[in-house]
Symmetry: C2
Subunit: 428 residues, 2 copies
């Protein structure tokens, strides 16, 4: 008997018909001889409707009360799902985040999980029942208050519960049938990825792939938990996100860790680029600048420092950060211009980031040559470059991003399934 | 400084505008130098919408999950109200039933309060904050489950909290401006009652007056707590429901316990009448019949046994009960016809009940004479009669009920405020 944690997003439980469809799938999973824990998000537009109501009654709703409000959403969807399951003659019990033992810190709106004590969920399973848990929410042990986890919270709830219950797999249900080699809206010939390592998925998520949130992949990787991303609208296998070889993996036959060297192309339009011009090229200046940014609570992504070419003892430092945090970061830098001693600031929010992700990239020098050649042939100018062991990212003009994604996707043979191995032999 | 508990029903918080209006009133009450605890129901149609969703996904939703679902309603309204109060520069904290210490038994859907431990509410007040509490919901200490209290639950929450916090008054806000001498929709000349004793209000509520639920009045009476029923749409004084004289009463000037002998006329169309014909007139038969009804979980209201007039050693027993419970009660009786030995059953759901309520009624023999004379002159035939110390109730044909209510209301001078004392001098 396997223990399966399934997570259904808001689009899967958007209305009564969706809830009944999910109930059918949950009951089928149990009838196939599994223990089943289900994590649900709020129904379709519920979250937006509640936020609209909040905006109608208050200019700046207090975070505690926003959390109290938002947690009503999953309470509704999980109770309805439990009812729909009962209607199929199975027994389900729903649990709030607090009841399911999701213990978080006390930061309203973006709480982090600090402990998971799912004894009530375990008891429900031991009775042969299906356990349904509200995603996205928890309780702070310190303040005794209801909290929510912010973006990606329901996925993270599912993975955290799966880890705490020592589940065999965490299935993340969504409205697409898996992770693709590129965003199919940009690259219509993109292919579904059958299996990908946690590390690569992490880079994909960090590089703008929306399908799984960074936090949830990090959590799964740390606990060696396989994730299966799949569609709630079909029975097809989706994408398996697999922890490092050697970690516990119990998967249906046919799934193995053999993988193509290139996993996919991710892109991101949500960032802006700041260039700090004329920074004194002396030790400690970079730390000073990034200390200022951290003080403004901005999350920096790529950082590039050019060498000092002007003979003036000055250099330029560029970095990207979420556009929504741009204004605060700039204000903080301007306030410190004199003490840091830089000359000026340039801000550009018309940029796009493109990332190529694949294991073994560094040991294949042909990869970066092919990558930059493809961009060059497509007429795409490159602004910033950064690399990791399994990723190359570049910043381009926003209006050239789609062209760039398609060019790279094609250059690495991702458009057709069988060409992938050309660049990496049999993989590792 | 007074401690005031205010309860706002769903129609008062039906939309953002309503929530902001309530917030204004709450803050004004605090600014006038009071400690304020607010109990809210779910917004307007939320409860019905949630019930509709439940009906869409399941034929017979389990009671535990229905409670989980329904409690989302107050969670939304209380969080929004807290936000709206913050927007007026006051500080409010919202509390679920469980957080507010509303401990109930474990009966889902109609839980009874068994303890109230409002220490978190008290702490919020001690900090100078406004406390907002979800009505209608609690938690079972025994099962650790979320419960709801059924009809009248929010009023009862307010009164129970007020009693536990030793509040000075419990204000019940509604969409009418108080308790009337009769239903104004039936008797347009009905007068608002300025003050009424808990006992009389109890009889009014039990006799069909919808404005306050029986349970909440019983609770207030037991704890000697004054209730002020008033409109959330105006600043007018409403109706004070006052515990027995001698109990703690701290009320604004002008309110006293001097009261007219006749409080009002209540009516009820929700009951049906069962007559068990030809019951052997021997001891124990009535007990046998009502044991059967109790076994069918029906709540009997009026009971009348005629004397045995047919010389046959047989009698008839009639009683009224809610129409919704009629079918079950009849089925239970039919199943026991042989063992009880009655001849037949008659069921009539086209009846109406009219009740005249007033203190000191029994010591004023003129009251019943005037009552029956009014009905007779209006051509209303009487089917059953029952009386208490402060109430006379009759059952009539349903289609004559409005005529009967108007006739009695007029006969006791309730149409104009100054005639009321004619029948009782200065009251007691």
């Amino acid at each position: 008997m396997s223990l399966i944690v399934q997570k259904y997003g808001g689009s899967s439980v958007a209305d009564a018909a969706g809830i009944k469809r999910v109930a059918r799938r949950v009951v089928d999973t149990q009838n196939a001889g599994n223990e089943v824990v289900v994590v649900v998000s709020a129904m379709g537009d519920t979250t937006d409707e509640l936020l609209d109501l909040a905006a109608e009654v208050a200019d700046q709703p207090p975070a505690r009360e926003l959390d109290m409000l938002m947690t009503a959403g999953e309470r509704i969807s999980m109770a309805l799902l439990a009812m729909a399951i009962h209607n199929l003659d199975a027994v389900a019990q729903s649990f709030t985040g607090s009841q399911a033992g999701m213990i978080t810190d006390g930061i309203h709106g973006k709480a982090r999980i600090i402990d998971v004590d799912p004894h009530r969920v375990r008891t429900a399973l031991d009775k042969g029942n299906i356990a349904i848990v509200a995603g996205f929410q928890g309780m702070s042990r310190q303040t005794n208050e209801i909290t929510t986890m912010g973006r990606g919270g329901s996925d993270t709830t599912a993975v955290a519960l799966a880890a705490a219950l020592d589940a065999d797999v965490c299935e993340i249900y969504t409205d697409v049938d898996g992770v693709y080699t590129a965003d199919p809206r940009v690259v219509p010939s993109a292919q579904k990825i059958d299996r990908i390592s946690s590390e690569e998925m992490l880079e994909m998520a960090a590089s703008g792939a929306k399908i799984l949130h960074l936090r949830c992949v990090e959590y799964a990787r740390r606990f060696g938990l396989p994730i299966h991303v799949r569609s709630s609208f079909s029975d097809l296998e989706g994408t398996w996100v697999l922890p490092s070889p050697g970690d516990k993996i119990k998967i249906s036959e046919g799934v193995a860790l053999e993988q193509p060297i290139i996993s996919g192309v991710a892109h991101d339009r949500s960032e802006g680029k700041v260039t700090v011009v004329g920074v004194p090229d002396i030790p400690g200046k970079a730390a000073e600048i990034f200390g200022i940014i951290a003080g403004a609570h901005s999350n920096i992504d790529m950082i590039v420092q050019n060498i000092s070419t002007r003979g003036s003892g000055k250099t330029d430092i560029s970095f990207t950060l979420p556009i929504v945090e741009g204004a605060d970061a700039l204000a903080a830098l301007r306030a410190a211009q004199e003490s840091v001693g830089f000359e000026s600031l340039i801000y550009d929010d018309q940029i796009g980031k493109l990332s190529l992700i694949g294991a073994g990239m560094r040991s294949n020098p042909g990869v970066s040559f092919r990558f930059f050649k493809a961009l060059s042939e497509a007429g795409v100018n490159i602004d910033l470059i950064s690399t990791s062991e399994i990723r190359i990212s570049v910043v381009t003009r926003a209006d050239l991003l789609d062209t760039a994604v398609r060019a790279v996707h094609k250059a690495f043979g991702l458009d057709t399934e069988d060409e992938v191995t050309v660049y990496g032999g049999t993989g590792r």
